[in-house]
Point group: C3
Chain length 204, copies 3
Amino acid sequence: MMDLIHWFDLLGVMVFAISGTLIAHSKHMDGFGVVVLATVTGIGGGTLRDIILDVPVFWLHDTSYFVAIFGAILICILFLNSHRGLPKQMLQVADAFGLAFFAVMGVQKALNIGMPDTTAIIMGVLTACFGGLIRDVLAREIPLLLKGELYAITCIFGGIVYTQMLNWSFSVETAMLLAMAVTLALRLLAMRYNLILHIFKYAD
Amino acid sequence: MMDLIHWFDLLGVMVFAISGTLIAHSKHMDGFGVVVLATVTGIGGGTLRDIILDVPVFWLHDTSYFVAIFGAILICILFLNSHRGLPKQMLQVADAFGLAFFAVMGVQKALNIGMPDTTAIIMGVLTACFGGLIRDVLAREIPLLLKGELYAITCIFGGIVYTQMLNWSFSVETAMLLAMAVTLALRLLAMRYNLILHIFKYAD
Amino acid sequence: MMDLIHWFDLLGVMVFAISGTLIAHSKHMDGFGVVVLATVTGIGGGTLRDIILDVPVFWLHDTSYFVAIFGAILICILFLNSHRGLPKQMLQVADAFGLAFFAVMGVQKALNIGMPDTTAIIMGVLTACFGGLIRDVLAREIPLLLKGELYAITCIFGGIVYTQMLNWSFSVETAMLLAMAVTLALRLLAMRYNLILHIFKYAD
């Protein structure tokens, strides 16, 4: 079981690292700037989660995360240097996968150390959204998170699905896969149909 | 006594959350972007304070802070959707109230765990200023804090008043109220008369 | 020995504080904005390092760091107010010195608490680069770190030199001085000859 979690975690780091590399490429960054943006996006959210929960930061004693990040960068280099045009939506799709993995992993880690469901769901949102937030701030983009489209809210849905399924005594693996699928599907739908949660009336 | 501190803390979170919501509205954000900006502004400073002091982060086991944030957003929605123009200074006034509450609360929390006065005053500044700093970075504004007008320095004054009054054995309640009043008054005066601390000679 | 480390640490804080003050001056900031930028640049990297390593943050019980920061600001005020033009490269040279000091200090602190070499080198990079990263984000510059020129990579070289020399049982002082010299020299060469690590092929 812990193995499955570890692999999902690595996968989440990888897709977020890809999204960081893609944005760095779109800004014509090069060299270590790419590495930094990939790393911050990949492990930023989990690092903040562990700092706030006051547990040992997950990558301090496990270098496999850095292997995953370099793997992600390598994939991007091979792909981007052989293809001219970058499919515009690729960044957002990579981001959506990372979001789904990290939201559920964040909830799981908080539950592991005995946090109540509500706090766990918030930690999931934080794990999933913080890396991308820093990525966008460093790349001087308006953060995806703040644009109003359903983003963090999909993590909340995923977190609720996950915690509820555990309460109904589904297995962790089933709950994890389903919650990730729900988060991913919601996010992709939000991107496709440009779903926005309106709370303010603006003139235009 | 602890009750009073808790209420002041909630009030501080609330006014900072309002200032976050107002800036999100002025940037035509919507939905969860507003929630994120309100939350980060409301609890960002205190979270960093608790992480640096290595005490449990204050909102991990207390959901009342999130109720306060949603209350603040609700107030803003009701107000902003029924009034056309936003009074321009409202953001800065809300910010000034949050500053006054958090500066004193931050000092108090650091003193509670036995920090010396100087460190406590610095933690007050950090609690009061960090949330607004992230708010402005995320909203891509030049941070209020860096514009040169008296801002963080009012927190230092408030912190000195507070620690000195405790040393002169005033009650915590009296010291708290007076220190908050001093901080707020200084900040409002700085806004009104555009007080700037000059340390550099610029040509113009 | 610990004395030497403490003095190097203070020196690192000082040159980074100078680089923060210079950028604040170049943005026509004034008053406390300068103090904040100097402070964040000076102690930001070390603070994040200590938070991630979960050791007490280095400045909590030692006010000498704040004396160093104020000394740095004072030097800048005296210099900038008496000279018209600011030598354009001064900021980058101050930054390079800070980089060299902090990279090695960060590695040393991580080794002190028993981290493996790889993690220690990463903590060195983080200590050296994070303060400057926040400085540039707050000043709304494109971070030096992300521009592609050899920057963080010089810290990695310095870290490798340091850990290897310790493994070959050189004294800490010798290893420290040599590793700092290597990092500094590499960074200055990168600035002088505009060395860039190319990993992407861009059209232009």
